[in-house]
């Protein structure tokens, strides 16, 4: 079984502790050994024995009282040395432990001064990677990495400012594009309206013989263009004032089967719906809009031998619905723009269909992804993260 490695901080502490122990123990042992060597040298002199021998050799001339103090001193020195050896062994241990503790504590303090700001920096970098540019790291003036922290904070300041500018620029671009499309869409019906009015005026003042026919034709054109303008206004209003969702429980598969029926005559529609899907909880009308818009989008991109595949699948807490076609596909450079309001490459169309789809999906706590290959087709995948409800209990849409 592989043991997990301790953290970097623990590894450094263990190494430092090990080095401290080795160095202090060796130093202590060296000095104690030196003292023992000195003691042995003194003992080897055998002063006591030599003094005894001297006394016994010269007992006639030497008095006991003369020798006794000498022997007493020798004994006392020996005893004192013995005691001293014990003391230095013990006290050097105390001092060694004291030094180890102090150095270790000081080292931990300095290590914390380095690693705590590093940990804070690491956590801040993770947040920035997730998109949170508001994070700032508290400066640690005593830390050796304080300059790094200051640089990081400056960098996130600049990133935040750049992002805000970018968001604003994107908004401006969107409005400009929207205004362009609106201007184009409104201009289109205005030309035939003006021409029809001019033609009527001309025929009326010239008292033309075919005024009645011209009047009828022009009225038809005028009404048609007014209808187009009205549709444009309605779509715009619908997008701008998207109503809040009205959630009910219903069967998603049943809804899809109903929606595809009218299209079965126009194109080959294949549905692959997972059986026993849990009851879906959403706004039935809005979800109908989503599927209709996607199917319409697919129909518009299909030329000949067109096929649309719709699949549903349920994974824990997720409804996955995909709509795939084998149409003309989307250019790579346009993939990121298709969900923008008023973005369209078609001559007719408001460019609001997919923007509405995305908004509804977001309202249902979901996301929509698109994969496309030019000339081969496009696949939209919707993932809705809603809790399932037991189908036995509550199918009460």
């Amino acid at each position: 079984m592989k043991l997990p490695l301790p953290s970097f901080k623990i590894q450094i502490l263990l190494i430092v502790l090990f080095l401290l122990l080795i160095s202090t123990i060796f130093t202590r042992s060296f000095f104690i050994d030196e003292f023992k060597r000195y003691r042995n040298d003194i003992n080897s002199l055998e002063l006591e024995q030599k003094t005894h021998n001297l006394y016994h050799a010269h007992q006639n001339t030497l008095q006991k009282q003369e020798i006794e103090p000498l022997l007493s001193d020798i004994k006392q020195i020996d005893l004192a040395t013995d005691l001293f050896e014990k003391e230095i062994t013990l006290y050097s241990t105390f001092i060694t432990i004291f030094i180890i503790v102090i150095v270790f504590v000081v080292f931990i303090i300095f290590l914390n001064m380095l690693t705590r700001p590093l940990s804070r920096l690491q956590a801040a970098i993770r947040k920035v990677a997730k998109g949170d540019l508001s994070v700032r790291v508290k400066e640690a003036k005593l830390s050796p990495i304080n300059d790094l922290i200051i640089s990081f904070n400056k960098m996130t300041d600049e990133l935040e400012a750049s992002r805000d500018k970018l968001i604003q620029a994107e908004k401006d671009l969107m409005w400009r594009e929207m205004a362009q499309v609106m201007a184009h869409e409104i201009k289109n019906p205005l030309t035939p309206l003006r021409l029809s009015a001019q033609r009527l005026e001309q025929k009326y003042y010239n008292k033309s013989s075919n005024f009645d026919k011209v009047f009828t034709d022009s009225l038809e054109i005028i009404n048609e263009e007014i209808d187009n303008l009205q549709t444009l206004v309605q779509e715009f209003s619908k997008f701008a004032r998207m109503p809040s969702a009205n959630y009910t429980k219903y069967n998603l598969n049943d809804q899809i089967k109903e929606i595809v029926k009218p299209y079965e005559n126009q194109v080959d529609v294949q549905i692959n719906l997972q059986e026993n899907m849990p009851v879906f909880y959403g706004d039935k009308m809005q979800m109908k809009q989503v599927f209709v818009n996607l199917i319409q989008n697919a129909l518009q991109s299909i030329k000949e031998n067109g096929k649309i595949s719709i699949t549903t699948k349920y994974e824990p807490s997720k409804f996955i619905i995909s709509v795939e076609d084998n149409g003309e596909g989307i250019q790579d450079e346009d993939i990121n723009k298709i969900f923008r309001p008023y973005f369209t490459k078609r001559e007719k169309g408001t460019g609001l269909g997919l923007a509405i789809v995305k908004r509804i999906v977001s309202q249902h706590n979901g996301r929509i992804d698109v994969k496309s290959e030019k000339g081969k087709g496009t696949k939209f995948t919707i993932v809705l993260t809603y809790k399932s409800i037991n189908i036995q209990n509550s199918l009460d849409a």
Binding site: E68, S72, A80, L83, L90, Y91, F94
Partner: protein, 188 residues
């Protein structure tokens, strides 16, 4: 200045450490074979000090210094703090460095004992015999008493190296004590 500071710190560490540990390995001296009997209208006691010697102490005995063990025998009435009778005496051992023999002096008997054997000298030093504790006439019937024995070692001074040594460190700084069972005069 640094040298003075480091000296102060070192002394502090040593002082703090000394509270916890000693450089000397001591023993827990105690009394054993305690016998309290009445003889000639006196209560006398016999006892031996045990577990009171070590190799370090033996070296000190061989230093030629006068080593004294002080004994105190006290008789207390139960629940009284002051003894009704107290006797203090000492046993002394001295080693003759020149002629290499031990002299043990027992102050309670004013008796000298000479031997070449360290073991015999130590046995004599640690034994108390026939030591009077209290006269029976001082005891009252119906009252309860007990006898307490205490032994300590006197510090010695090495004049050659001008160093005082507190010998009690060899007894873990604890006096040897013994308290007898409670008795009454009628027992004797």
């Amino acid at each position: 200045m640094l040298s003075a500071l480091s000296q102060k710190i070192t002394s502090l560490i040593i002082a703090a450490g000394s509270l916890l540990l000693s450089s000397v390995t001591g023993t827990d001296a105690d009394f054993s074979d305690v016998n309290i009997v009445a003889e000639d209208n006196q209560i006398v006691c016999y006892a031996s000090l045990t577990n009171c010697y070590s190799k370090d102490l033996d070296k000190i005995f061989l230093s030629g210094q006068d080593i004294k063990i002080n004994f105190t025998v006290q008789t207390f009435e139960q629940r009284k703090k002051k003894p009704i009778y107290e006797k203090k005496f000492y046993h002394k051992i001295k080693y003759d460095l020149v002629d290499e023999y031990f002299e043990v002096f027992l102050s309670e008997k004013k008796d000298n004992f000479i031997t070449n054997s360290l073991k015999e000298a130590k046995d004599k030093l640690a034994r108390i015999e026939n030591v009077e504790t209290v006269n029976l006439d001082l005891l009252k019937f119906g009252k309860k008493y007990y006898i307490k024995l205490i032994a300590t070692m006197q510090p010695i001074f090495f004049d050659a190296i001008k160093k005082n040594i507190d010998l009690m460190i060899y007894w873990n700084n604890k006096k040897a004590t013994f308290s007898s069972e409670i008795f009454e005069k009628s027992v004797f």
